[in-house]
Amino acid sequence: MNTASRRVLPGFGLGLGYTMLYLSLLVLIPLAAAAVKAADLSLAEFWAAVWHPRAVAAYTLTFTASLTAAAINLVLGVVVAWTLVRYEFPFKRLVDALVDVPFALPTAVAGLVYASLYVQDGWLGQFLVPLGFEAAYTRTGIVLVLVFTGFPFVVRTVQPVLEEMDAETEEAAAVLGASRWQTFRRVILPNLIPPALTGFTLAFARSIGEYGSVMFISGNKQYETEIAPRLIFARLEAFEYKEAAAIAVVLLVASFTLLIAVNVLERWSRRHDP
């Protein structure tokens, strides 16, 4: 497959033309139009919209909740991926398939069910609320539902790396007298860090934009449980389009930065590949 294939295979013009047309109409032109709209604001107005105390409270909540959830997922994901690759146990295939449920389950359903599980008379809330663990309509609840929506990322990035790790390297370490713990720390762990960080970043990026599941459980109280996407919606409802666009720009910059970080991490994790 090379430059010669354009002479042999048909459809280059049609394929590229249609791809570019559809991409432009549906994605590029709308995004550009929104950027132009945000540019309507003077720098001072933009700054005022971005640094409004309610906006700052919303980003702070969005970023801390997303970061906490991604960190929890980092630990859970490595444990689950490790167990699924290394050990045999009953219903292993089923458990493996269930890991993907958060990807397939609509976020509105996730929000609905998490909100109902942790209220005072909910299935889990009836045990947890008396212990002082209040998740419904609190920040804890936001983190909890973000742990759910981001759960598969770390598992699915770490799993293939563990599967491909060859037994010989570990055996070599054992033969040379390393204990299990030393082998884990010196041989296995260094290989796990790049994919685990990739999964962490993906989960983090996903959580920043998440809306559907969070709005069910958070109660959306200004300055307390209002996440940044919810504030964009509130601004829109008040016909403050430019302010909404300004906050959207902040979210877009954050998610593009994370997208670049993922690309760098993936290159780093493949650094030993030929």
Binding site: M1, T3, S5, R6, G11, F12, L16, Y18, Y22, L23, L26, V27, L28, P30, L31, A33, A34, K37, V79, V80, T83, R86, Y87, E88, F89, V95, A97, L98, V99, V101, P102, A104, L105, P106, T107, A108, V109, L112, V113, S116, W123, V147, F148, E170, E171, G209, E210, Y211, G212, F216, P229, I232, F233, A244, A245, A248, L251, L252, S255, L259
Partner: protein, 291 residues
């Protein structure tokens, strides 16, 4: 535990001491159970709280809920069809040809994944909103786009944009162009080659992409929440209907919310079963190719 140096090649899974294995397996079952299984059970437990008859009543006895189901069944397939056509064209172009800007194009295709659904909705409000030039012009000519089904199709297509293309690019790259070149040299024209060689070779990957795209399209919430105006019986899709019932005050509404949610949960479960089946097919086909 003895710490003999292994003389034979051991099976890796057995090398950790039993207490480590049992702890980690227990933790995994606990994590997946609490995070995934309990919520799934909770959906069905609550949906059927008033019995099967009431459940069916919640789903089909309410005109707004019926309309929401109808709307989702209309909007999602159109968006999926648009993205499928695009996905095939884009994947064929990217996997079979080398041209300037190819890497950039691949990155741009992924772009909608990194845009928050609410931001995606906002983009279309800014474009088609009633106060905007385009929105005003369309309205003047009798076309209602915002707060109407056309914009629901557009945002749904936007948020599910990359799915089919992303699944197809690696499948096409793994297959290689040899069979297509052979078909051409044997005298097939472009469309004959496409229908008889290219498409049959990617059919499982294509199906997989369509399934994932559809699941996401039917479940989309944030973007539609922003652009639809949330008019009951008119622009509420199934996920929006769930939210509206959830906000209702009486217990009947709460149960009805779960009944409607159980539909989307079943869709998700069917999607996962199909995904596992198609993945197995895909793997079987790839190993056959390599033999």
């Amino acid at each position: 535990m003895t710490r003999d140096i292994p003389l034979t090649v051991q099976r890796r899974p057995q090398t950790d001491p039993w207490y480590v294995r049992y702890t980690l397996v227990g933790l995994t079952l606990g994590i997946v159970g609490l995070l995934v299984v309990v919520p799934l059970a909770n959906v069905f437990g609550n949906a059927f709280a008033d019995g099967v008859e009431a459940y069916l009543g919640y789903l089909f006895g309410d005109a707004d809920t019926r309309h929401a189901i109808f709307l989702t069944l209309m909007v999602a397939p159109v968006a999926v069809a648009l993205n499928t056509l695009f996905g095939i064209a884009a994947a064929y172009t990217i996997a079979r040809f080398r041209f300037r800007g190819r890497t950039l194009l691949t990155t741009l295709i992924d772009l909608p994944f990194s845009v928050s659904p609410v931001v995606a909705g906002l983009v279309f409000v800014l474009l088609f909103g009633l106060g905007t030039p385009l929105g005003g012009w369309l309205r003047g000519h009798g076309y209602q786009v915002i707060f109407a089904p056309p914009v629901l199709v557009l945002v749904t297509a936007f948020v599910t944009f990359p799915f089919v293309a992303r699944e197809l690019i690696p499948v096409l790259e793994a297959n290689g162009p040899e069979e297509e070149i052979a078909a051409r040299s044997l005298g097939a024209n472009g469309w004959q080659m496409f229908w008889r060689v290219t498409l049959p070779n990617i059919k499982w990957g294509l199906l997989y992409g369509i399934i994932l795209c559809n699941a996401r399209a039917m479940g989309e919430f944030g973007a539609i929440y922003v652009v639809s105006g949330r008019i009951a019986g008119q622009t509420d899709t199934v996920p929006l209907r769930i939210e509206k019932l959830f906000q209702g005050i009486n217990d009947r509404d709460q149960t009805a919310a779960f009944a409607v949610a159980s539909l989307l949960t079943m869709l998700a479960l069917v999607t996962l079963v199909l995904k596992v089946a198609v993945e197995r097919k895909l793997r079987a086909e790839q190993t056959k190719k390599h033999e």
